[in-house]
Symmetry: C2
Subunit: 412 residues, 2 copies
């Protein structure tokens, strides 16, 4: 063993604490119908009660409940039909004892009525007379004023992601414009003399820039805006120049370099070229992904990712995505959780104590069970990533997992 093995690695736990030391991106205002997927930058307080009127939840008859008390199949209550509620119009009738008004789902209860009898529990004898076969409770089939949302109450919290249902709520409250966090811009820089643009036919010993495209997809999937700045050869000035540009134009920088010890040192040198730069992490106790670098300059994160694309993907899912979510303002308790599913391991998996192992798995649905099936094959190969649905984590303190063990799968 050489001294190189002993560079001090950081635990994943520590890295995941560090991601919260970076500031959030700024806010912007969007039209509601463009806000889906974004994260709220302000709490949403309702300016209205919802519903704003007592609303029927059934097709039937609005009635005073007490007019029906004691009604049964054998002893129906006889009531007088005094009109019909028109949708979207304020009722002009009011309901007294012994009277009913026809109403449809969503209709506004008229004055006097406190309950709705379903059509199924009633029968018209003639145009003006109704039999009711069942006693109705007060507020039965009625949504009361403010039952869904109350005026002045906090309805949605800052840090929540806007899903379709949140869009619905915001629409209901009349919030036509929404205050959200901007999408973080993530600069992507590839480095290495062997990397060529994908349009180019690589010479023997060269490779197309696979990482930049994989990272572009990952950034977009995580709510960021990818900004591809191109390939820097193994040239300190060139990489420094791209990095400088990235720190101006982006909120976070990803340098996907070679995974060799030499190219790691190279990335470190470039980062240290910035006067305010601070190397926070140089090596993480996970596998794959050990040669990861995290630094800070101008309050922004610079990640040095492993050159092997499969390792870079693991690092992205385990560390970069959580940071991206954090600087995008997602509330702390939601970071990471939405991408995990439970499964059962399909076979034994060995591991080394003292580091977290991430194993690629395919999800297999069989009967009522979801199995996580480890993908075999060298870790550096891209095809193992294509076959995989996600990653299983094996804990630092574990020597492995047994077949049948319950596992969490981080979905790709």
């Amino acid at each position: 063993m050489t001294d190189r093995e002993f560079f001090k690695v950081t635990s994943l736990e520590t890295v995941l604490e560090l991601i919260h030391t970076f500031p959030c991106v700024n806010e912007e205002i969007l039209p509601l119908n463009q806000s889906d997927g974004r994260i709220l930058s302000r709490d949403v307080i309702s300016k209205i009660d919802l519903p704003e009127f007592n609303r029927s939840t059934m097709d039937g008859y609005a009635v005073q409940a007490r007019s029906t008390f004691g009604a049964s199949e054998n002893m129906p209550a006889l009531l007088t039909i005094i009109g019909t509620i028109e949708m979207g119009k304020v009722p002009t009738v009011s309901v007294n004892a012994g009277e009913v008004v026809r109403i449809t789902t969503g209709g506004m209860l008229p004055e006097g009525a406190d309950s709705v009898v379903m059509v199924e529990h009633a029968q018209t004898l003639d145009e003006h007379t109704l039999e009711i076969f069942k006693s109705a409770a007060p507020l039965q089939h009625v949504t009361e004023i403010g039952e869904d949302f109350q005026k002045g109450k906090k309805i949605l919290s800052k840090g929540n992601r806007i899903r379709p249902q949140e869009m619905g709520v915001l629409a209901a409250l009349g919030e036509t414009r929404v205050q959200v966090y901007k999408q973080p811009v993530v600069a992507i820089i590839s480095s290495g003399d062997e990397i060529v643009p994908i349009e180019q036919t690589p010479g023997l010993s060269q490779l197309r820039d696979v990482n930049a495209h994989t990272l572009t997809g990952l950034v977009r999937l995580s709510g960021g805006v990818p900004l591809y700045l191109g390939i820097a050869g193994d040239d300190l000035d060139e990489l420094h120049g791209l990095c400088k540009k990235a720190l101006v134009e982006a909120d976070m920088v990803l340098i996907s370099g070679g995974s060799s010890v030499g190219s790691r040192d190279f990335t470190i040198d470039v980062i240290q070229g910035f006067t305010d730069a601070e190397i926070l992490v140089h090596g993480v106790s996970i596998s794959p992904g050990k040669p990861t670098i995290l630094a800070r300059s101008k309050q922004k994160a610079i990640w040095g990712l492993p050159g092997q694309v499969a390792s870079a993907m693991v690092v992205f899912h385990v560390m970069v995505r959580p940071m991206l979510e954090a600087i995008n303002g997602l509330s702390k308790n939601r970071i990471g959780t939405t991408h995990e599913v439970s499964a059962v391991l399909s076979r034994n998996l060995a591991s080394v104590q003292g580091r977290e192992d991430y194993v690629r798995v395919k999800l297999v649905h069989q009967q009522n069970q979801v199995y996580a099936e480890p993908i075999l094959g060298k870790s550096g190969l891209i095809h193992t990533m294509v076959k995989a649905d996600g990653l299983v984590r094996i804990d630092t303190n574990s020597e492995g997992l047994d077949k049948g063990a319950p596992v969490k799968v981080i979905l790709f």
Copy 2:
């Protein structure tokens, strides 16, 4: 009970078969970096071997394996260092017995070498002499030509969604432009005299158009392009006009109407106004979501969705999204599966035999278990959707589920 209860309902199973009777959208060609999330419309066959050269997966020394046979800590093999492989350049040296060349991860193996010794298993005595402490096997730490992808082989299949790793593969293969299915355009029409645009302050008895915004988010989340055509009052001609426009401009039509029996009949009347229209489904045996309509005109699907937004969301997740994925070309075995997670029910849930029940749940992560916790409250309320993370399905033949039962949760 009135006759209205007896309209013939269709099983969910039948509806999910019907979704495959609608044609796929057309193809288009996209630049690779814009293709993420799209679905491949052609198989991808590799035009090259990947890697195109024998590649080192470690930092170390390229060697003929047999030069190291028998080496150990006590009896190291002594070899001559004859040079260094430069990244991205074709090696000019060739390695004979007793010789090594320095190589870094990703480097091309020189002629003669068939194995790589890690730096950790070697030590330089001087500039030209290396001790190796461990016997190296042939092809150790080497990715062979074509080991990842072979020329002429099918690499990705038509019907696969392009994830970040698929973008990486396509980049590696030099596929700068990708043939994918277009995103289906989904027209959204709201109907009902009580519905007003969200910019407008609703009068008493009126409601803002919650459904259109919820559906906009749902369509986009499912890979479609929402096309909001506005609100038709309860006016046959107006709704017919919007529907006609929708059938020209969109690939699928969603009419979100009142959920009352009357407004269902109204939607049916409008659909039947198209000479080629065929009503396929009028009521589905699920709850909520029973008053769902599915029709076909000009080979396109017209859905009549329940007016209650919570019910419309369930119908969307259970039926509309699978159809959207199907007409978007997603392969049959992937439809729906990616949105389900496993959990354990946190309490007993009753159900009615003969229909599928969908219950809103919140996912609670506790220790090593994910619990599905049913959300209480009236089903029509929007706030139950905001609190929920997904839906638990209770089977047609079940009378309910017990606390602790394993369940599948369809994520929102």
